[in-house]
């Protein structure tokens, strides 16, 4: 697949140290366009829709804010909403997003026993935007990866 110049520039900005120290690709050796294509396939197989997932993540983030910085139980989930100073640009250059980190995990598992990416989702305003607008879940090994199977398991 031939990359557009916009995609190529976005992928360069996903590397560690450009927008964030960790970058967006984790330990994934796949190219970002391949990550997107394979996650789109996984979404279809799991019956997930990018807009619906993004809406649900936004809804949970709002509920998490009611904990006033402390974790809060919402149904079967434990949500913690934390905020940091500043804004992050989207690698595709289509907006700036408030820096925050929302964690979502099963309420019946102690927070300290949850492993990121296995039974805990971590996301930000930028994660939701990239999911909705670019179908980008981030690379495997990125702490902020929105693993499709985990999205299905926790959110629906």
């Amino acid at each position: 697949m031939k990359q557009s110049p916009a995609d190529r520039q976005a992928f360069e900005r996903m590397m560690p140290g450009v927008i964030t120290a960790q970058g967006f690709l984790g330990k994934d050796v796949r190219s970002p366009d391949r990550i997107i294509a394979e996650d789109e396939l996984l979404f279809r197989e799991l019956g997930l829709d990018f807009d619906t997932v993004a809406d649900r993540l936004e809804e949970l983030a709002r509920k998490g804010e009611e904990g006033l910085g402390e974790p809060i139980t919402v149904g079967k989930l434990l949500i913690q909403s934390g905020e940091a100073r500043g804004k992050l640009p989207c690698p595709w250059g289509d907006g700036f997003f408030h820096k925050n980190a929302v964690s979502v995990s099963p309420a019946d598992i102690p927070l300290e026993a949850c492993a990121e990416g296995e039974d805990m989702l971590i996301y930000s305003e930028l994660s939701i935007h990239m999911l909705r607008a670019h179908h980008f879940c981030q690379g495997r090994g990125s702490p902020f990866r929105l693993e499709p199977a985990l999205l299905k398991q926790l959110l629906f």
Binding site: P16, A21, E65, G69, P71, G86, K87, K99, L111, E116
Partner: protein, 373 residues
């Protein structure tokens, strides 16, 4: 030579030549020589090598402008006024600039390159900020996700006001290839000038907090930069109504023990509301209750929002804002001395507390806070 190798070798050779040309051009075109940075109308003048961002150039000269993102232009903390024309604001700066900032030529110092003589303005307080080399003397888990870390200064002393913060310099580790800095309020008392104590809560996915919780060991060398911040006890007789949760405990611990040991502002009554979710998220309870016993003007109100039944929690329950509201309405005596609000926590928690305090008659100009964001 195999024809299969010719292509890759040719591409490699061309790339090497191009890289060399770029390196030579960079040396020639980006050599700005020595330039002068004049600060606050010549109060300080620095002779520096041009070509680097202003933030790093100042840091190399021992002037530390606060920054939380390592100069990537994503925190907006490193604002300063540039009087010299250095061109229009960059797209990376604009999200942090109000129309007034743009008119005043306030810039992000991490985004402005020092290419010629510059005149800038900086708050004078920044001149007293230093970088300290320390050793980690003690690490203690105070909850399952908060560590109390005590740093011993390797030389010199630190002077600060209770409530101020330092920037923790996190070195490259694991997959993190560059140093980053993050701000943490000091929980130690100003009189302990050879030590700094921080309370650091593990944030899932957080670079600095992961390093502290999973990599940092007693005996490690760590750099701290500071002190920064305007959060401090105000010299009035008004009662302090303090609210925090989680690691927001830090500046208050420093303030309370400083007030206790110095008996400063003896007219001030102090009410401290501390919220956590469950008993395992609560900490320093015995210590603060002991302080309350021996210090009559200190009143400690810990509260749990989701206490587990088996914890048999005897204290207040509910969101800390609800507990605060109840106390302001029914328990805290009103006097002509008035009330002042002191808050430390997430923007959401601070905004919710401000609403409760305003509803109960504390005007916004008497509410002081240290937002985590």
């Amino acid at each position: 030579m195999s024809p299969i190798l010719v292509g890759p070798l040719a591409v490699g050779a061309i790339s090497t030549v191009l890289a060399l040309i770029i390196a030579v051009l960079d040396k020639v075109l980006n050599n700005y020589g020595e330039v002068e940075i004049s600060i606050n109308g010549g109060e300080k003048k620095l002779k520096v090598k041009g070509g680097s961002p202003l933030l790093g150039t100042l840091a190399a000269e021992g002037i530390f402008v606060p920054s939380a993102c390592g100069g990537r232009g994503t925190c907006g903390a490193c604002k300063c006024k540039v009087l010299t024309d250095v061109g229009p604001h960059l797209p990376t700066e604009l999200p942090y600039m109000s129309p007034a900032d743009i008119k005043e030529n306030i810039r992000l110092s991490c985004q402005v390159k020092v290419r010629k003589n510059l005149e800038i303005e900086l708050p004078r307080e920044l001149f007293s900020i230093k970088k300290y080399r320390t050793r980690v003397e003690k690490i203690r888990s105070v909850t399952h996700d908060i560590k109390e870390v005590l740093f011993a200064l390797e030389s010199g002393e630190i002077e600060f006001q209770a409530g101020q913060y330092v920037q923790l310099v996190v070195p490259p580790y694991g997959e993190i290839k560059e140093s980053v800095q993050r701000a943490y309020s000091m929980s130690s008392v100003p009189s302990g000038r050879r030590h700094v104590e921080l309370l650091i809560r593990l944030v899932p996915g957080g670079i600095a907090t992961t390093w502290v919780h999973k990599y940092l060991k007693e005996g490690d060398a760590v750099e701290l930069v500071g002190p920064f911040g305007e959060f401090h006890v105000h010299d009035t007789p008004a009662a302090m109504i303090c609210v925090a949760g989680g690691s927001g405990m830090a500046p208050f611990k420093s303030m309370f023990y400083h007030l206790y040991e110095s008996n400063a502002f003896p007219e001030k009554e102090i009410w401290y509301f501390f919220g956590a979710r469950t008993g395992k998220d609560m900490f320093y309870v015995d210590e603060l209750r002991a302080l309350q016993e021996k210090w009559p003007r200190f009143h400690f109100v810990p509260a749990l929002s989701e206490p587990a039944a088996e914890e048999h929690w005897q204290g207040e329950t509910g969101l800390i804002t609800d507990v605060l509201d109840r106390y302001l309405q029914h328990s805290i005596p009103r006097s002509e001395k008035g009330w002042e609000g002191y808050l430390c926590g997430s923007p959401g928690m601070i905004n919710a507390c401000i609403a409760v305090m305003r509803k109960n008659g504390i005007t916004e100009d008497k509410i002081y806070y240290d937002k985590f964001a």
